[in-house]
Amino acid sequence: MFGMRETASSRVVFRFHSQSCINMSKSFFINVNGRSLQVSEDTSVAAAMIMAGQPCRRSVSGEPRSPLCGMGICLECRATVNGEPHLRTCQLLCVPNMEVVTE
């Protein structure tokens, strides 16, 4: 019953360690609103969208919006990632070939 959880949590602890050992950060490409963007590993999707000059979402009255709080509170950074809508992009790391779309 706890097997899955233990796997998941030990992976998290491992990741915590392995991150501390990485000196060189690799880079790769993601897609933001159809344009290719090179980002380094450990870049959040929110940071990538700012660097791409793209808003994360349009507000209910149509204003472009970008991240405000950077820490998962304000939800201004919601965007569609790999087809999944309303994700908090400041809490999400880029992975190669990710498709990010303003919503």
Binding site: R5, V12, F16, S59, P64, P67, G70, L75, R78
Partner: protein, 429 residues
């Protein structure tokens, strides 16, 4: 699906890590939850072993993360607490998967967020929080050669401006809204915390000749698709400044959503705790910024006390407890020194948006007389952030009591909201 722990700690910042580590070292089964992808909270965000030593807070980080990883504590990252479906349970969610966790004791260490004060243009892309910009830079945003105005209030102003300058940003100016007279009085009281004074002086040195102007604040941001210039004032004259980014936040406020959800008593904007950190709810402790904005030292101390309390180690608790009063007094002095000035209540124009989720303007809110009415009539606070940003803003602007929220405390999948709780009998211990 459920799991059972002696202690569940929510929030893996310094306080939560210390509490979880101490409890796990005492032999308890502990689960440390955080909605971020890695532990560390805000102050240790993005720290790494090989570079941490350069940082002022690096030693504490190395000490505690080492102890945490040696302990048997389970660390669940990326999990968000969304509900409290019945006594002794928390419901957590990650990527539309949810679980119920049974706890005997709960330690809340949910930290703080920035206070935002609405001003014309604050919704433009390029206007971020102060800690917000710092968090984004730690998450890979490159500030090199960007012209940045740093504004708002609080000790974070200098620290964050120094970090941004370190990363190659062109800091144009730092505007602290608190008047110099208040800061001087605060500076004198810092004599009992010499470490803090030295920390401040170090940041100042790093910033070279960037102007740090007290009694000044940003009144408005302008630009077509993003911020292009800001206007600042000292209360007598106003001036414009071209910039790429404005980082603006007014000190910090505690994240009280979970303490409220669990029914902890709140007094003067913070969770009430007894001298040993125990909240008004019998098996719940609240630590760190929840009991007063006092930073990492206070959080670590309260975390250790809460960890020992969970393990029933009275003697260790009593050794540490005398330090608490001094830290909590420091927190109250910070609040006083950096309290937002009255002029900030008059920055918003009638058409300035106060609720960013539902685009509710200042003019619409002026017609309302309470937070409840604003929700019902104008949909203020009914959007995705559930009033986290505008609730704090309207508390300041209109003196409304932001009554908190109902579960789910974060937008959650319908399946996670509707699911029944596993009955305690079905939970295997």
């Amino acid at each position: 699906m459920s799991a059972t722990f002696d202690v569940v700690v929510v929030g893996a910042g310094p306080g939560g890590i210390a509490a979880a580590t101490v409890a796990a070292e005492a032999g308890l089964r502990v689960c440390l939850l955080d909605d971020n992808r890695t532990p560390g909270g805000q102050i240790w965000r993005g720290f790494r072993a090989e570079t941490a030593k350069k940082n002022l807070h690096g030693e504490d980080f190395l000490h505690w993360t080492d102890r945490l990883s040696r302990s048997k504590c389970e660390v669940w990252c990326g999990w968000q607490v969304t509900d409290h479906p019945s006594p002794g349970f928390v419901r957590v969610e990650r990527e539309a998967e949810f679980r119920d966790i049974v706890f005997r004791r709960l330690i809340l260490a949910t930290g703080a967020r920035e206070r935002f004060v609405p001003f014309p243009g604050w919704t433009l892309p390029g206007v971020t929080g102060l800690g917000g910009l710092q968090a984004l830079v730690k998450a890979g945003l490159k500030p090199r050669d960007k012209r940045i105005v740093v504004a708002g209030s609080g000790p974070l102003l200098l620290a964050i401006a120094a970090n941004l300058a370190d990363a190659g940003a062109n800091i144009l100016a730092i505007y602290e809204q608190a008047p110099l007279s208040k800061l001087i009085r605060f500076g004198f009281t810092l004599a009992v915390h010499p470490g803090k004074l030295i920390e401040g002086a170090g940041y100042r040195r790093k910033l070279g000749n960037v102007p740090y102007r007290t009694g000044c604040w940003v009144t408005c941001a302008e630009g077509s698709d993003r911020v292009e210039r800001v206007f600042a004032t000292n209360g007598r004259k106003q001036w414009a400044q071209e910039c790429d980014w404005l980082a603006c936040g007014f000190h910090l406020v505690p994240n009280l959503e979970l303490p409220r959800l669990f029914g902890c008593r709140i007094v003067d904007g913070y969770v009430w705790v007894d001298p040993l950190g125990q909240s008004s709810v019998q098996n719940i402790a609240c630590i760190g910024e929840l009991t007063g904005i006092g930073g990492v030292d206070k959080a670590l101390l309260e975390g250790r006390i809460a960890g020992f309390a969970a393990a029933g180690r009275e003697s260790e608790m009593r050794v540490l407890a005398p330090g608490l009063k001094r830290r909590q007094a420091f927190a109250r002095r910070l609040d006083h020194a950096f309290a937002p000035r009255d002029e900030l209540r008059t920055l918003a124009n009638p058409d300035t948006l106060v609720c960013r989720c539902e685009d509710v303007s200042y003019a619409e809110l002026r017609e309302c007389d309470s937070w409840r009415q604003a929700k019902l009539h104008a949909r203020c606070g009914m959007g995705a952030c559930q009033g986290r940003i505008c609730g704090t803003a309207t508390e300041f602007l209109f003196d409304w009591k932001y009554a908190g929220m109902r579960p789910p405390v974060f937008p959650a999948a319908v399946s996670a909201i509707a699911a029944k709780v596993d009955s305690p009998e079905s939970v295997r211990h």
